[in-house]
C-alpha cells in the first residue's frame, strides 16, 4: 500500500467513466473502481441466448446536430411572415428568442469535453413520439422539430397555444445561473402559465418519466432542463445501442492511458472491486489526511480525493463514522434521501418487423388514468398498469421500409420495451415462487397493453408478427446490479448540485451522477465531467 492516488472514482457508470476520462486528461493518477464485471451501471448491457440487450437505453435526450447550428431555430424560414395571424408572429418572436438566448447543447458540450467526435456516436433520430392519454382520447405528437408539438397544441388546445409559446419563451430565457437555486415547485410555476389541467399533465408526463426524482412534481430548474432536452432538442439513439456509448468511453480511457507511459488501462479501470468502506485519515497538524478506501476483498487503497457516483445515502453508508448516525435516522427523514421511484422493464421480441402502420412511432408515453392526471408516484400495486413508457428501438433513424434498423437484433426481428412505475418494497419481499408468478403477471399486463396499442401483433393471424421471446427486470434486479437503494433510478429527492456532501468529515469526497442532480445518460455524463473539472484540480 505504497502509492497514494490523486483521485479514486467509485462506479463505472456513465458519470464515473466520464470523470475518469477528464482526470486522465488532467494527467492525474486516477483509479476507477467498479463492483460489477463490466461498465455501464444503470445503463449497462447483457446477452440472453443469442440476443443482445441494453439495460435501459430507450433514447438519449438533448439531440443536436453540430452541423446544423440552432437547428430548432433556423429550419423553417418559410411562411411565418406572410401570414399575419398572432400565433405565427409569436412563433417568429420565439425563434428570435431562441437565437439570442439558447446556450450550447449539453450533449455536444459533453462530447467535446470528452473529445468524442459526434459522428462516432452513429445516432439515429427519433421519428415521432406520442403523449397518449388514452382515457381522454387525446394524443400529442412531438419530434425533434419543435414545430410539430406547437402545431399539435394549436390543434387540440387552441385556447392554450399562446400560453404554450409563452412557456417555451420562459424556458428558453431561463438563465443557467438559476439552475442552482433551491427547490421551487414546477407544477405551481407552470400552472400560472398553462391553464388547461389536461395539457399541463400531458406536458409533464415525459419530463417526469425521463427525469424527476420527485413524486408528482419536480424542481422548476429540473423542469427547464428536461423541457429543453426533450421538447426543444429531442431524442436519438446510437445505432448500436448503449454498447456504442460505453465502448467510445472505454476507448477514450485507453487513448489517454496510451499517451502516458505510466498509466495502464488495467490499472486505471478495475472491475469486480466493491468498495466497502471509506475513512478519512487524520493528517498532520490537525489537517485532514488522505482517504482510506477499503474494498470488499480487504484490499486498502489511499487517495487524496474521492468522487463517488453510487448515490448520496449509499456513499454515506461507506463512510464508517456516519453509518450509525444514518441508521439512527427516522424513516421519514430517510425518504428525502432515498429515491422512491423505480421501474420494471418488459422487453418483447417479435419475429418480424414492427407492423408498417406503426413504424413511425419511436416512443409512446402512455397514460390511461380516468382522472385527467398522470400519477407519477410509487404505485400501491407492484406496478402501475395504467401508464407506461413504450419504446420501439427499431423505429429510429430514417424510415426506409425494408431496413428498420437496430443493429442489436438480426434484421428480421424487432423489439418493444415497456417501462412501468413499480413498487420496490413489494418486489423485494416476494419469495422466489411469488417473484416468478409476479413476473408472469407483469408479462401479461404488458401484453394486454400491447394489444391495445398494436392489436395485430400476436393475434394468431397468418402473416402477423408474433412474440417469440421476452425478458423482464424489476426494481429488485436494479438494486442487485447497481446497488441503488430501493432500485431507485433517479436517486434521492434531495440533490447536491455542487457535488459536495453536506456533512462534516467529508472533505475531498464529492458526489457525481444521479444524486448530484443531472439525470439520464446525458445528465450523468455531464455530471461526471463537471464535477471532475471543478474539483480534481482544486488544492
Amino acid at each position: 500500500m505504497n502509492q497514494i492516488y490523486d483521485v479514486v472514482i467509485i462506479g463505472a457508470g456513465m458519470s464515473g467513466l466520464a470523470a475518469t476520462i477528464r482526470a486522465l486528461m488532467f494527467d492525474k493518477n486516477v483509479l476507477l473502481l467498479e463492483k460489477h464485471s463490466i461498465a455501464g451501471g444503470l445503463n449497462s448491457y447483457y446477452s440472453r441466448g443469442s440476443r443482445d440487450f441494453d439495460v435501459g437505453l430507450h433514447a438519449l435526450t438533448n439531440y443536436a446536430n453540430p452541423k446544423l447550428k440552432h437547428k430548432n431555430v433556423n429550419n423553417n424560414n418559410n411562411s411565418d411572415n406572410s401570414s399575419s395571424d398572432n400565433h405565427s408572429s409569436n412563433i417568429s418572436n420565439l425563434r428570435a428568442n431562441l437565437r439570442a438566448n439558447y446556450n450550447p447543447n449539453a450533449f455536444l458540450k459533453v462530447l467535446r469535453q470528452l473529445r468524442i467526435p459526434f459522428d462516432k456516436m452513429d445516432l439515429q433520430q427519433q421519428r415521432i413520439s406520442k403523449i397518449d392519454f388514452a382515457y381522454q382520447g387525446c394524443t400529442l405528437k412531438f419530434s425533434n422539430e419543435m414545430e410539430l408539438l406547437i402545431s399539435e397544441v394549436k390543434e387540440y388546445f387552441p385556447k392554450e397555444i399562446d400560453n404554450f409559446i409563452k412557456l417555451i419563451n420562459f424556458v428558453v430565457s431561463y438563465s443557467d445561473d438559476n439552475l442552482y437555486q433551491p427547490y421551487l415547485s414546477a407544477k405551481e410555476k407552470v400552472s400560472e402559465i398553462i391553464k388547461d389541467p389536461l395539457l399541463l399533465e400531458m406536458i409533464f408526463t415525459p419530463l417526469f418519466l425521463y427525469g424527476s426524482s420527485w413524486e408528482n412534481d419536480m424542481d422548476y430548474s429540473q423542469f427547464v432542463i428536461m423541457f429543453r432536452s426533450i421538447f426543444l432538442e429531442g431524442f436519438s439513439k446510437p445505432k448500436g445501442g448503449v454498447r456504442t456509448i460505453i465502448n467510445l468511453l472505454l476507448s477514450r480511457i485507453q487513448e489517454e492511458c496510451d499517451k502516458n507511459a505510466i498509466y495502464k488501462i488495467e490499472k486505471v479501470l478495475q472491475f469486480n472491486k466493491k468498495v466497502s468502506s471509506l475513512k478519512l485519515k487524520d493528517g498532520k497538524d490537525g489537517k485532514d489526511g488522505e482517504w482510506e478506501i477499503t474494498l470488499h476483498s480487504g484490499e486498502i487503497i489511499q487517495s487524496k480525493k474521492v468522487i463517488s457516483t453510487i448515490g448520496y445515502v449509499e456513499t454515506m453508508g461507506l463512510v464508517e463514522k456516519l453509518e450509525k448516525e444514518k441508521l439512527a435516522k427516522k424513516d421519514s427523514e430517510h425518504s428525502e434521501l432515498v429515491g422512491n421511484l423505480s421501474f420494471t422493464e418488459t422487453i418483447l421480441i417479435l419475429d418480424k418487423e414492427i407492423p408498417a402502420n406503426y413504424q413511425d412511432t419511436s416512443i409512446i408515453f402512455y397514460n390511461n388514468n380516468s382522472l385527467n392526471k398522470f400519477f407519477y408516484n410509487k404505485p400501491k400495486d407492484n406496478v402501475d398498469s395504467n401508464s407506461s413508457v413504450v419504446c420501439f428501438p427499431n423505429n429510429f433513424g430514417v424510415n426506409s421500409l425494408s431496413s428498420t434498423s437496430s443493429s442489436l437484433l438480426s434484421s428480421s426481428e424487432s423489439m418493444i420495451r415497456f417501462s412501468m412505475l413499480a413498487n420496490y418494497q413489494l418486489w423485494s419481499k416476494y419469495s422466489r415462487e411469488e417473484y416468478i408468478i409476479e413476473k408472469a403477471r407483469l408479462l401479461k399486463t404488458s401484453k394486454t397493453l400491447l394489444k391495445k396499442l398494436l392489436p395485430t401483433i400476436d393475434s394468431g393471424d397468418t402473416g402477423q408478427a408474433k412474440i417469440i421471446d421476452h425478458d423482464i427486470f424489476t426494481p429488485r434486479t436494479i438494486h442487485k446490479y447497481t446497488g441503488h437503494l430501493q432500485g431507485s433510478i433517479y436517486g434521492a429527492k434531495l440533490k447536491f448540485k455542487d457535488g459536495r456532501l453536506p456533512t462534516a468529515n467529508c472533505h475531498n469526497l464529492f458526489l457525481a451522477g444521479t444524486d448530484q442532480g443531472f439525470l439520464g445518460i446525458v445528465g450523468a455524463l455531464l455530471s461526471g465531467v463537471t464535477i471532475a473539472n471543478f474539483y480534481i484540480n482544486q488544492e
Binding site: F26, D27, P66, P104, K109, R112, R115, F118
Partner: protein, 82 residues
C-alpha cells in the same frame, strides 16, 4: 516561432477541442467565443493543452488575454520562443 506559427498552435488546439467547428474563416480581432460555440469549460481546455503540449502556464488573471486569436498570438509569442 513566427506569429503565423503561434496562431496555428492555437488553431490546432481549438481543432482538437472542437472537431465539429469550421475554423477556416476565424477572424483575429473578434472574440473566439463570439465566432465559435466555446464555453468556459472549453476555454479551460485551451489552457490545459497549452500546458500539456508547450509547458506554458496561463494563470487565471491572464485568461482575458486569450480572448481573440490576435491577443493569443501577442500573449503567447514571447512564451513560445523555441
Amino acid at each position: 516561432m513566427t506569429q503565423e506559427e503561434v496562431r496555428q498552435v492555437v488553431v490546432d488546439i481549438i481543432a482538437d477541442i472542437a472537431p465539429d467547428e469550421d475554423l477556416k474563416n476565424l477572424k483575429d480581432d473578434i472574440a473566439l467565443r463570439e465566432q465559435l460555440e466555446l464555453d468556459s469549460m472549453d476555454f479551460l481546455d485551451i489552457v490545459m493543452e497549452l500546458r500539456k503540449k508547450y509547458k506554458i502556464e496561463v494563470p487565471p488573471e491572464d485568461y482575458p488575454k486569450l480572448a481573440t486569436l490576435g491577443s493569443c498570438v501577442q500573449y503567447l509569442s514571447p512564451k513560445l520562443v523555441n
